[in-house]
């Protein structure tokens, strides 16, 4: 075997080189394809079609669940979500209050310090 011949030219190496080349080409082709307006249009149409089916179904299931919850006198999903939103808003208000309390405490500290100096 001459020294110019590759030393790692086993079947796996050949396969690896071939697959690397194929992947390069496939990658470029795929990137061009997904960047095309045709692809975007088709995917969007498919998403819309799925939503056309899923949205009314989901609405129906939610309605059913709400009715069942009302019958069994337990909070509905909507009510729980609404409650969570209110708790979130309450947290913001409490945080604002916390800021104001800190400011008042700072002012009081300043006045106490001034009083001591006087």
């Amino acid at each position: 075997m001459s020294s110019e011949e590759p030393t790692t030219s086993g079947p796996l190496e050949v396969l690896r080189e071939a697959s690397a080349r194929a992947l390069d080409v496939a990658g470029q082709v795929a990137e061009q394809f997904v960047a095309s307006e045709g692809f975007s249009s088709v995917v969007s149409r498919a998403a819309n079609a799925v939503l056309d089916i899923v949205t009314p179904l989901r609405r129906g299931v939610n309605q059913l669940a709400e009715t069942a919850s009302e019958w069994t006198n337990i909070p509905t999903r909507g009510q729980v979500v609404e409650l969570a939103s209110r708790v979130n808003r309450l947290e913001l208000i409490l945080d604002d209050l916390d800021v104001k309390t800190d400011e008042v405490l700072k002012l009081l500290d300043g006045e106490v310090a001034d009083g001591r100096q006087d």
Partner: protein, 369 residues
Amino acid sequence: MGKLLMVGKIDPFDMFKYIADGRRAFNRTRVALQAVSKSSSYPVGLTPREEIWSLHRLRLYRYVPRVPVEERRSIPLLLVYAVITRPFIMDLRPGKSFVEFMLDRGFDIYLIDWGEPGPEDKTTSFDDYAAEYLPRAIRRVLADAGADQINLLGYCIGSIIALQYAALNPDGPVRNLVVLTAPVDQSAATDSKFSVWLDERWFDLDRVVDGMGNLPTVWIETAAQMLKPVANYVGAYLSLWERAEDPKAVQSWQAMHRWVHDGIDLPAETFRQWVRDYVRGNALLTGEHVVRGRTIDLKEITIPILNVLAEFDHIVPSAQSLHLADLVGSEDVQTEVLRAGHVGVMSGKHSKSFLWPLVADWFGERSED
């Protein structure tokens, strides 16, 4: 058979070598499959930290300092990450952690984890992030650190939130701002795949948002993967197979794989606002974005800015942030282009040797009392 063995100048007497190669390949495959199956539980974000404040889903962390108090810098640094993926990319694993590096350089590091939105958060928008949550988090950091100034580092959409905050609070406590891969000018990259996919000619934004509520992470992840479908769906796994005999490389791959597949949902209104106002309307530049009654004007920002972009970024094409210096009012704007991709800019092979020291030195030079 003889013909097959002659492919690629194969010497038929090297059969023992081929058998050894076959065993190696089998072993690599076994290791790679194990690595993939265990990647979702790979330990990440291990730098010690403590939660100092929380508000609804948001968590504010302070990392435990690693240098004595006299060697620490007085101005705290707050990391503001994107709202669609988890922030542990900045603290991936020991030795490959930006947070760890900055702690070793004496920075007092805080991190906002926006958390995973629930159905009650579907009305949360960018306005909330920039005008409600971030200001409160900054106030907490300042109180915790006993400081009156703060340095901010925004990454991806986090940099947009940081820029919005800086524009809304020109006299605020932010001393310096670093933005990484900031998608500021959506009109600058006409070849952006996101722009094509989200074009109003076919993408019915309101139908998707109203139908789905919060945008599921699987949609976001799929869209990100589809930017480079072959590289992400095939190449990533081949790359693992190639490096399967190097345990460190396998661990690195697992950490990254976990991050890529561990996303979070995007609040419905944030997604609507992003597509309508930013991707389609380029509102950050046109001056049409109004937050809590105030128009966002980037010219209001006068603090020093380090603008880092990634040359091979396929998520935020570098053109989108290249001209930030012309858009803000700051005189001190340094723009650096890194030969990396969107994620590689923070955790790639050049990060530790170039980006992290650059950020540390830049903040250090501008944070002297």
